[in-house]
């Protein structure tokens, strides 16, 4: 990618960042600003659209075009923007409440239409801005202000939901792994189509340690699985464990008695396997990070422009006087 001579600083606005000290959002902001000079797009052609929630303050801190809109609708607003302006690089900033609760409908429809946009879904499994109610990704039994006896809601599995909506790019990363996040941000940007990047983000005020097991030195080796295209699924200390498929059933095996050739080889373009990977969602399996799935599919905005061009070819550029006149007229002298 071409470097336009920008530095990360060029993408920092003059507004004071107001997230709580220690919030995972700082790390995400920093990584996004740091990859911006590398994506080869002029600053004026970049737009960040957000909904409502802690994460949705994000556009105010980016020195690009931006809109802090209303709850749940960033995806719908971005759809209209991208349809009107296919030339822009459009980034959607949303959270688990914004995109999976109030805005769930627009998220799945944006994904199926495949607008070329990048969705950064900050998942902290809690409502932060409203001071600590459970969210649609909070685990069952979670005690919060609104669920003193524990949540009885079955949580969403965001990536499985997005797979179900036929997303063309699905990936996961986390706030505590800036290097991996940078890579995932860049890959999201590179994908032509709707890119859904789920970012596990710690809310140190209302849900501290939600992803502790996946970030703590002691446990993360066993609880995380980093996906690489064409590589076997290996995890654990010194990659001592692997995952192989027994039919459609994933099985954890020890590498002491298994050859790497027998393991599940990650294939980013395999829809069936990607579906299985999104279901690594309980304590039995390590949590996957990386690109789960990608496919090339027609972009909505290109098809939209294509139809307009086709109509112009068939009927010629519209003529207002012809339109007003219609096909049947009569004159009175």
């Amino acid at each position: 990618m071409e470097n336009k001579g920008y530095t990360a600083k060029d993408f920092s606005s003059d507004q004071e960042v107001r997230w709580c000290p220690g919030c995972g959002d700082y790390s995400i902001l920093k990584q996004v600003q740091s990859i911006m000079p590398e994506i080869g797009v002029d600053k004026e052609d970049i737009v960040f659209i957000s909904g409502i929630g802690c994460s949705s303050r994000f556009p105010y801190y980016m020195n690009t075009f931006g809109m802090h809109s209303i709850h749940g609708r960033a995806t719908a607003i971005a759809s209209g923007l991208k349809a009107a302006r296919p030339d822009l690089s459009v980034w959607i900033i949303t959270g688990d409440g914004d995109s999976l609760s109030i805005g769930g409908n627009h998220l799945i429809h944006l994904l199926r239409r495949n607008f070329d946009t990048n969705i950064l879904l900050f998942n902290n499994q809690i409502y932060g801005l409203t001071k600590g109610q459970y969210s649609p990704t909070s685990e069952k039994g979670k005690k919060t202000k609104s669920t003193p006896m524990g949540s009885i809601d079955h949580p969403f599995n965001p990536l499985a939901l997005c797979m179900g909506a036929d997303a063309t790019f699905i990936a996961r990363t986390m706030d505590r792994d800036p290097k991996h996040m940078r890579e995932m941000l860049k890959r999201s940007n590179d994908h032509k189509g709707s890119s859904l990047l789920e970012i596990y983000q710690n809310c140190n005020v209302f849900n501290d340690g939600a992803f502790f097991g996946m970030t703590d030195k002691e446990t993360k080796m066993n609880q995380t699985l980093f996906l690489e295209d064409g590589q076997p699924l290996l995890f654990g200390e010194n990659k001592s464990k692997g995952i192989k498929l027994d039919g459609f059933k994933p099985v954890v095996v020890s590498m002491e008695d298994t050859s790497a050739d027998d393991l599940w080889i990650h294939d980013e373009k395999d829809r069936v396997k990607a579906g299985l990977l999104t279901r690594f969602f309980d304590d039995e399996m390590p949590r996957p990070f990386g690109v789960f799935y990608l496919e090339d599919r027609m972009l909505y905005e290109e098809a939209l422009v294509g139809q307009i061009e086709e109509a112009k070819n068939l009927k010629g550029q519209g003529n207002l006087d012809e339109l007003l006149k219609g096909s049947n007229t009569w004159s009175i002298d």
């Binding site: 737009v47 105010y60 075009f65 550029q317 007003l324 049947n328 009569w330």
Partner: protein
Amino acid sequence: MTQETVEKVVIFFAGDSGDGIQLTGSQFTNTAALYGNDLSTFPDFPAEIRAPQGTLAGVSGFQLSFGSTEIFTPGDECDVLVVMNVAALKANIKRLKKGGAIIVNTDGFDKRNLRLAGYDDGENPLSDNSLSDYRVSEMNVTKLTRECLVDITLGIKEKDRCKNMFVLGFVYWMYNRTLNHTIDFLTQKFKSKPEVLEANIKVLKAGYNFADTCEISSSRFEVKPAKMSAGTYRNIMGNQATAMGLIAASQQSGLELFYGTYPITPASDILHELAKHKNFGVKSFQAEDEIAAVSAAIGASFGGSLGVTATSGPGVALKGEAIGLAFMLELPLVIVNVQRGGPSTGLPTKTEQADLLQAMYGRNGEAPIPVVSASTPSDCFEASLEACRIAIEHMTPVFFLSDGYIANGAEPWMFPQSKDLKEIKVPMTTKTEDYLPYKRDEKLVREWAIPGMAGLEHRLGGLEKENETGNVSYDSDNHEFMVKTRAEKVERIADFIPLQGIDSGADKGKVLVLAWGSTYGAVKTAVKELLIEGYSVSHAHLRYINPLPKNLSQLLNGFDSVLIPEINDGQLIKIIRDKYLIDAIPFNKIKGTPFEAREIKNRIIELHDGK
């Protein structure tokens, strides 16, 4: 056989919703229009697409008034009622004037149909003398249609679908019309189905010839062309005119038109019309819901397009928060509300003017939005173009109010030339640096900068913003200042709209009828007649409801009383009373149908004579 010349005729076609009644009506309309009659139409159909056959609930109707004089409404009482079955007769006989003609398809009066329409065994309105006040022409349309198609290899079902053409041919004969226009239409419609085309034309001609030769139709009528202003005319429906107004606004402003919408009765035809005109660069987007539709339009406007969303009342309710966002962002957005009977799902296919207060006040916080309304089918063109002009030139969302009556109604239109349309000036900034998104001109309108403009990167949002910079601000004085400024911006639009004129009558007198929207035709007809009869009455019709024209107060003061007729329970009247502190008198109808001219007339007479 007699031949009579008449000034004006009102025909009502009625049948099952699958009988092709709307097509029959619109064909007669177009033929009358091309002949040079003035006319007005009103389709009246059930909410169900194919409601149970033969029942009262399934009756679809189409009313048409045409004449050699000026016509402003589809008419109060009908001269002719065409009924395809007994349910259609039962549901509509009340519309027919005493001595009027009924054209009956006797096949729709069999045992089954009689039972479905709620008649007891042995009861039949055709044989019990209940129709003795009318002139009844009976014919078995189904049988005659089938006989005429004996040599055609279509199935019975397909043959029976031609029935409406028999009736149309019959009525064409009654009113001395040629079949040419309908034959052209059928040729176009069925160009890939030659057999169906042949069948339809055969039946159309058979209906015409049947009328000519049989004994049952004894009179034939001549309705001469109307003396209308010189010019070239076309026939136009309201929703079609709205679509054209939006396209014209796009052309006049140079902004691409983005139309985000979700299907809803009675607004969907605007989408259907716009989707046909992609060669104007129109981007029509059928969203997943009403909220996405308006949100996408806002996104498009943010990108520099003319964002438009259209719906009916229930959809506006869903869009409320996003409309507030557009107001706060100060971006152009047009919200088309083709009103229907409410509340809730209400009466989807019936008309009402009950969303005016929703347009005026239906948002959280202080969020005044300009409101423009259309008065007739063809007026939808100019009014929607005006709504777009205000939205763009004043950087604000604007409501455009139409309703089911004018949206589906049709009338002749002396269409304008594009060169005579107003230019729309887009307040796009010419700056390349030091851009302040909320710095305003003397109209209080901010300058617009869109993505792609280097050096003008900025952030907009729904949070209260600091004056000029647009940065988030929770300062209390700033908030009050911004609320007042945004309201004042909308008020100042009054300097950029025409003064209110009087439509009929003098500018001073006893009674002023102050109306808005689709009541136009009925009020105009009533006031014109009363003026001839010597009453001191005038008619003023509002297009701009927010802000109201600057001279309205002065105009109202010229009359002893102000009557405000509305197809709602009193909405404009609340605004007028609030704003001008006058004792305006309401006149309301909430039956899902338009006013009849005589209803307005009677009320004016009462008021005039001090009752």
